[in-house]
Point group: C2
Chain length 468, copies 2
């Protein structure tokens, strides 16, 4: 999914001419995205990522098994050995993407399998939590990973052009500074999948600034999710592309981390999460800031235990900051991810919020931090639990039909997706990474009564309270 | 695709309050859909149809062959023998749909394979040009037909509720009247796939009225396309569902025929066509009328000969009515079917026009009639030529990716699709029948230089003049 959002409910002052927002952006900023409106804020510029590995023929990859009991690891190796034949082409769809984005001439990092570089310049930085040699990393990736993490970071008037990441020569992690400069920031950066977008010297110069704190949280979240997914699949590796926005600076700061994970196995649910931060400076020098985000689950089949686990984990994260947060944001989530023409939600929800600007930057940041840290414990156990479940062709088909609904939501309703696509300078491939590798539409498909398919449809039509 | 359009460039008078247009419709009526605007008029209410047969596993159906050299006929029989297993489920997606729609409580007819009835009442009227017994017809359908034809017809203040078509008992065609009433109209109706939406007595009462003439042209076009497709696949059969719009009458007359055909074989191109007619009565009793329509081709791979044949056939149809029509409507088509965020057209174009209201009803009708009659000769030869072509998994994959772009266009840009989906009372399943059975998205997919994939992309990015 895309990363930076602007709140639809933002004060009108934020859209004032003094901000020099692009006309197309200003026109789309309008109130109404509060709970109950069923809408969500537009995402300013597409910048996100997803990993959607998919079987081709009889092959299978991590978190998935077309042939039940084929392990993720063996498939990772299998795919790693393929050259540019049909299977490899299929595996391309399963590439991972790590992206770092800056609104003002920063750089992109995108993880993708070897040999798939397009016209865009690719800088391969290979990372793996348990690994090893550069070349091995680069061939082990592909369909081996069904995870995703995106990163967008920019600053309002302060971000220098980020440096390109040098090609990896077997290093396990970025080298964020010269050895003699090793400090706390450098040590934190060592755990990241990619260097911060903002120059380290600038980050060091403003350690208490929210832009610094949020950028580091974003990178930490990215690393946590990727490393957790890599643990489920021992063969998972990431390489990093860095990219630049050619259109130059934007008159605001927008940063975020965003992810959509579409597992192949229909018993492993799809997840989407996004956490973001904005700063806009008005003509009079007054600064507006706000946070947004959310995390929602889209299972193909209902598993009550999973649903309760997912929601309970999110609720616990919210409850640390107030008892009303989870109920409010759970409701907002159900309302936002509504496919109106179907009368269904996209999934079984989670939390969704935007335009959080009180009581204070610090308090909202800590809330967002708790939410971001809940991604791994809310989701990864479900992946571990189900990634080797056996499934029938009929179950796979139902997954494909549900993915069709996912496409319908993202293209028809998700304001961020549409806004991103229609904004000059946005990166189309990144925005549409939220789409599944494959999807399906059947005329008048209607599950039979009392079927497992009808069971999940019932929940999508009538959202439940999973935890009290 | 959907059937009735209202012209974006319609005079504002048409949207006046005196017309009692639904607010949501009136809000969307605005000028700007002329050539050069890159936009098109909204479709009032979704009402369309498509046939998208698709292989499941190793199976194949008409116009398609996953296993090369499997003939259409043999597969039709194969699928006809399947019961409700996984393959049959897959075949459901390939059902045909014949639809008749009336804005004021008329009836729908939808062709679908046996055993797939949803909650909607189904009246099965089986038709086949070369056939035969009722039960055989009903089991032969399913994935056997990759054709589609939809029909929408309504009248402004005149249409009575259409009768339900009685269940077929082996009759080859509708019985539009008692034997003693057999007249020219009845004889024409015998060739149709389904009865007119408008009561025959009413049609007889206004033989020269444009609503009558257009409804009959619509039914004729539907029959021609279905029968031509059935000839390519000897096993193709249609059954007919009739449906009613529950929301009641609309303050205008809109009728049309619409079709999207997605062949399985990547060497057989996808076609879309739509021809429609509108009448709106203003508060002062003044009647506005206009025609719209078009026909465009979406090949997976470029075949110059096919492209020239398709465009030449359309040009010849246009040239009968004026030398400037084809160039103008060819350009409009290239502009309308533009996927802006990709910088590509959906296909290699054809013709597209709307808001045609001069020089006279009769002359525009004859032009539309020529266009509608050109559908079969422009397209069916291409299907015959390619439906048994062998193809590689790589070619099938490229087709799936291009179908993803088709989905992107239809959900993101096609104003009719979006408007239909957001209009109360529209039939979602009919609107989304324009989507392919399956589609695919891959991150950063980029064909290699000088490949066949790059060749078609070049044409989609830079439309050509195929005939002069």
């Amino acid at each position: 999914m895309q990363i930076p959002y602007l709140p639809a409910a933002a004060p009108q002052a934020r859209t004032g001419a003094g901000l020099q927002l692009p006309a197309s952006l200003a026109a789309r900023l309008r109130p109404g995205a509060r709970p109950g409106s069923g809408s969500s804020p537009p995402k300013v510029l597409g910048s996100g990522s997803s990993l959607t590995p998919e079987p081709q023929g009889s092959s299978a990859g991590l978190l998935d098994a077309v042939v039940p009991a084929v392990t993720a690891r063996s498939m990772a190796w299998h795919l790693g050995r393929l050259s540019a034949g049909p299977c490899w082409r299929a595996a391309r769809g399963g590439c991972g993407e790590l992206r770092a984005w800056s609104a003002r001439g920063a750089a992109r990092r995108i993880c993708r399998p070897p040999g798939t570089a397009g016209s865009e310049q690719s800088r391969g930085l290979a990372h793996g939590p348990s690994a090893g040699g550069g070349s091995r990393l680069r061939t082990g990736l592909a369909a081996a990973l069904a995870g995703v993490a995106g990163l967008a970071a920019s600053a309002f008037g302060h971000v220098e052009r980020a440096e390109m990441v040098p090609k990896s020569s077997g290093a396990r992690s970025p080298s964020p500074g010269r050895p003699e400069e090793e400090d706390e920031l450098s040590r934190r950066c060592r755990r990241f999948m990619a260097l911060p977008v903002t120059d380290l010297r600038e980050l060091r110069g403003r350690p208490g600034d929210m832009k610094t704190k949020m950028e580091l949280l974003i990178l930490e979240t990215q690393a946590q999710v990727c490393q957790a997914l890599a643990q489920v699949d021992g063969g998972a590796r990431f390489s990093v592309d860095r990219w630049e926005r050619k259109e130059g600076k934007l008159p605001f700061c927008a940063m975020g981390v965003s992810s959509v994970i579409h597992p192949k196995n229909p018993h492993a649910p799809t997840i989407h999460f996004n956490y973001r931060y904005f700063e806009v400076e008005e003509a009079d020098g007054n600064k507006q800031w706000w946070f947004g985000g959310g995390c929602d689950l889209t299972p193909t089949y209902l598993n009550q235990e999973d649903a309760v686990h997912f929601h309970r984990t999110l609720k616990e994260a919210c409850d640390k900051h107030g008892p009303d947060l989870y109920p409010k944001f759970k409701k907002w989530c159900d309302e936002y991810f509504f496919i109106a023409h179907r009368g269904e939600r996209r999934g079984i929800g989670g939390i969704f919020f935007d335009d959080l600007d009180s009581p204070s930057k610090e308090e909202v940041f800590r809330f967002v931090q708790s939410c971001a840290q809940a991604v791994v414990p809310s989701y990864i156990p479900l992946v571990k639990k189900h990634c080797n479940d056996s499934f029938t062709p009929q179950e796979k088909l139902w997954q494909q039909l549900r993915r069709g609904r996912y496409v319908e939501f993202n293209l028809l309703y998700d304001r961020g997706t549409k806004f991103g696509l229609f904004t000059p300078g946005s990166r189309i491939e990144s925005i549409l990474m939220s789409l599944p590798l494959t999807a399906r539409w059947e005329y008048m498909h209607s599950p039979s009564e009392n079927s497992k398919e009808a069971e999940i449809l019932e929940v999508l039509r009538h959202p439940r309270d999973w935890v009290r």
